[in-house]
């Protein structure tokens, strides 16, 4: 069955139910043309997001005649542009998943051979996907490279994935606390995702030790350009 642009768009926008999503993901593993279309749609979405950076409140008041502020670190638009380029070459949708044991093993292998630096992008709050990310992080944070240096692991959470790093909601608070014992692991929450929840009237408190980045995109862009491996959960 052909998958229409509308359905593929709904997959990218996280609008499908679990069964539909599983069907698309299955097709993505075997159908390279579909993977190309999905990747392109995803990139388009990032480019649109990157083209309209959000001015911060206090500076926005002086907007007329002055420059709206860029984010610290990577400006959002540039981060999105870089992600498009780096993402296209590293196969965002095709080989960044860890949804079964086979994918988990091949990711572990790739991360080990690529210097042991990995950024785990948490974009979902589905228990199975969170579980997989925690398992991978726990494994990697205990490993060392050939020179005996510990691997470096970074969690970056945005969208629904932010749930994992919040107090009062995360079913994995104890697991996260254990992970935090590793000096070579950072937990990073996207400030834009936090702001969006706050705008909807939700109180957002992060688990102890969770850092904030200007945006998930800027943090990902930094790590990817530094040669880190990207894994999405």
């Amino acid at each position: 069955m052909d998958i229409s642009d509308e359905i593929l768009g709904a997959y990218i926008d996280n609008e499908l139910d679990a069964a539909e999503r599983a069907e698309i993901q299955e097709r993505l593993t075997t159908d390279s043309a579909l993977r190309g279309r999905a990747c392109e749609l995803w990139q388009l979405k990032q480019m649109v997001r990157g083209a309209y950076p959000l001015a911060r409140q206090k500076d926005d008041k002086n907007r007329r005649g002055g420059k709206p502020p860029g984010a610290n670190g990577w400006p959002h638009a540039l981060a999105a542009a870089l992600l498009v380029v780096v993402g296209a070459t590293s196969g965002w949708l095709g080989n960044a998943k860890i949804e079964n044991d086979r994918q988990m093993d091949s990711q572990l292998e790739a991360i080990r051979s690529q210097g042991g630096r990995v950024v785990l992008h948490l974009f979902s709050d589905e228990p199975a996907r969170m579980e997989a990310a925690l398992k991978l992080a726990d494994q990697l944070a205990s490993e060392r490279d050939e020179a005996g240096r510990p691997f470096r692991v970074e969690f970056i959470a945005n969208g629904p994935g932010l749930h994992l790093l919040r107090t009062g909601g995360s079913p994995y608070a104890a697991r996260i606390e254990q992970l935090r014992q590793h000096d070579n692991l950072r937990l990073v929450a996207c400030r834009q995702a936090i702001a969006r929840l706050q705008e909807r009237g939700l109180e957002v408190n992060l688990l102890p030790g969770v850092e904030e980045a200007v945006s998930a995109e800027s943090e990902l862009a930094t790590r990817l350009t530094q040669g880190w491996r990207y894994v999405q959960s």
Binding site: M47, V48, A55, R63, P75, L82, R200
Partner: protein, 187 residues
């Protein structure tokens, strides 16, 4: 409700309105591509929101409610035939700055191309793609904001993305420029 309660509720409402202002302005600007007009649309929206705040049933849905008021203001504007502004008069300095001229250049190029492509979409498609991609509303929320069926949201979104893909494919020079920057940063 006591007077004190009422006043504190109103203050809370106003502070939430202020928090949404930046997002509304960005959305308005993506639709009309003109800063002064975006200012006016947002002012109209906030004034109407204050006027009608008793109509907001679910405070958690406030931003969606504001976006629907903004969409109505924008549609009123289009209907009044006031839209005589030059569509190419986007102000180039409305971009975050960077410390690196090459990055500035790449960023401006990508941003301008994307904004130009979004600006060429029919208004209905432009609204849907920005509400989904910038504001991250669900399809159901977008359908409610624009008062159209979900099927219309999906078809407009799909057509919008097809047009954007074609428009952004046309100039491959940017891809080369981007790769150059990545190589330089890695090296």
């Amino acid at each position: 409700m006591s007077l004190l309660n009422f006043i504190s509720r109103s203050r809370h409402f106003e502070s939430k309105l202020e928090a949404s202002r930046c997002r509304l302005w960005r959305l308005a600007q993506s639709w009309c591509r003109n800063r002064a007009l975006a200012d006016d649309l947002v002012q109209d929206t906030l004034a109407k929101a204050l006027d009608r705040h008793s109509q907001l049933r679910d405070p958690a849905a406030m931003h969606a409610w504001l976006c629907s008021i903004l969409a109505n203001c924008w549609h009123d504007h289009l209907r009044q035939g006031k839209d005589t502004l030059d569509i190419d008069s986007v102000e180039e300095h409305d971009l975050p700055s960077t410390c690196c001229p090459e990055a500035d250049c790449l960023q401006n190029e990508v941003v301008q191309r994307v904004r130009a492509a979004v600006g060429k979409l029919p208004a209905g498609q432009r609204e849907v793609v920005t509400l989904v991609d910038l504001e991250e509303f669900s399809y159901a929320e977008v359908a409610a904001i624009l008062d159209v069926p979900i099927g219309t949201v999906m078809s407009r979104l799909s057509r919008a993305r097809n047009s954007l893909r074609e428009a952004l494919r046309e100039q491959p020079s940017s891809q080369a420029a981007s790769t150059g920057v990545v190589r330089r940063l890695r090296g």
